[in-house]
Subunit: 201 residues, 2 copies
Amino acid sequence: MTINVGIYLYDKVEILDFAGPFEVFSTASRVNARRSQESDNLFNVFTVAEDTNPLFARGGLQIIPAYSISEHPEINLLIIPGGIITDELTKNHIISWIITSSNIANITGSVCTGAFLLAKAGLLKSKAATTHWEDINDLRSMFPDIKIKKNVRWVDEGSVVTAAGISAGIDMSLHLISRVTNKDLAILTAKQMEFEWTINP
Amino acid sequence: MTINVGIYLYDKVEILDFAGPFEVFSTASRVNARRSQESDNLFNVFTVAEDTNPLFARGGLQIIPAYSISEHPEINLLIIPGGIITDELTKNHIISWIITSSNIANITGSVCTGAFLLAKAGLLKSKAATTHWEDINDLRSMFPDIKIKKNVRWVDEGSVVTAAGISAGIDMSLHLISRVTNKDLAILTAKQMEFEWTINP
């Protein structure tokens, strides 16, 4: 069984917000393949953007997205990273794509200000959620029906999971691996990345 | 004063090995600009590769390098990330470029198996160094004159600094910020990234 992990990219996406989850899921695949002698495809990780033209992440890293929102493999695990999301919030076709894709996906996760895009898509309505500590107040005032949680690495609402800022996306991704496979694999993945996994208290 | 941070990329570079330092230095610039009301350019972070053709990081992320090794801005801080370095170790022109660039740079840092490239370039001769826990024995047998350190996040030998595996590159980059600017900025950068900075004991 291969789980397709689709990571949404856009101009001025925060680098670690998408690179953290990308690293976690692709490392987990390698660790799992070595451990179980299976082929290297527990997770198939790929990027999806508005189109496949090169884009610039925040800070200037230039990336070529693997797929466009109009043509990509079915996504089982959808990750929406944060960054400068001002433009994305105004794009109705992107919000529609998030709605459609999250309906098909088993789990939709956001990192940092990616939570604003989930909120705009209606995915956080009356749910608990978190975002970067600096954006908590904005999220609350823009979407007053969200139950905002502070000082947590992630909030798991079943089909929707939101992470705190930037590096918390790594902790959330390890949690998702624990949820969809097993905790052993998440712990081995963190060890392989030499990452100290911060689990919610 | 702007410090040019050049990050070397190659096919099958480990994503977090380069994305971690890229995030740290570009976030530090933003944090510094906000704090000091200076313009946003304490660090100018860019990627350099053999040429500027698109390349694939390990796991399949496609990147367009900003510069080639034959034409790039002067590098003050050179970062060599890890990944599948087998091919790179055999490329004499890459090893020569690392030697030349590290002579010009104030500090050369490696992440994970990037240490093998520094060793091949002669930068670790009779120095202390570290790498990913899984590669410690290989580094020792290939380069017996290196004083290998285990269970540290990074080893600082002045002009050459080596980090342990994957996410330890984030800790090392925060250390480098502390060294070339001040510890306050490193702490604020970690806070902005919601990253728990692991400092060497």
